[in-house]
Amino acid sequence: MQSGKRYIKPDVSSGKEGTTYEICHRCLIIRVNDELDHHNAVRIREKADKLIDRNHVKHIIFDFSGTDFMDSAGIGVIMGRYKKLVFIGGKIAVANVGSAIDRIMRLSGLYKIIEKYDTVEAALQNLK
């Protein structure tokens, strides 16, 4: 059983920092650091699912501190991870949600099934 922190090398193919992934206990922290549209949602889905399967991930925290745009593709990738984890009692959380992201989240009804936290640390505290 994996415990403790692991840092996954960030995807820097775009030249900027891009999305980073970190595993803390059984939480996968995804720092999106980019716009969350269909193009990026596909990449996040592929990477996250590999990490979830290999590392017994139970919860996911999306850190939106570097994200100022999201469309329904972002909703789709969050929903998809929720469906993947809900059966093992896992939870999805979002943190550092700015007003643009918050609007999309509210419109989609996603707050009914995922929790919003001010910081990643607060989310981690609640998900342990």
Binding site: H38, H39, V42, F69, D71, G76, G80, I104
Partner: protein
Amino acid sequence: MDNTNQMTLEFESRSQNESFARTVVAAFAATLDPTIEELADIKTAVSEAVTNCIIHGYPDKIGTITIRCFISGNELTVEVEDYGVGIEDINKAMEPLYTTRPDLERSGMGFSFMEAFMDELEVESVVGEGTLVRMRKRIGKQAIKGYTQQTG
């Protein structure tokens, strides 16, 4: 002096162009002095329409997407067109949460978001020939109803 303007943009149906398309339309709309929220609305609606062309219009190949923008007074019209598969049942396609691609984790919310963020939405489609989505939005302080006028 009337306030009119128009532009046409053509690009390949590659997902990396979604961001580019949003940025171009937002830049064109900037001349109407939109609020940050109005710009976000427009970018989101364009993103949904372009993504639909890529995923549904051209599911198995790379095709051409055309965006045309028109400004007339304080109204922005955006047309997003593909020459791909087309939609068999437009009413069904526009039902909230309906998607033909749950395998791609499509939420089925694309049209709902376009409707929510733009003032008008029209969809024309012919199976085998393509789909045209036309959206309109009135922008600027005059367009906001129920808010007090700003002075100066």
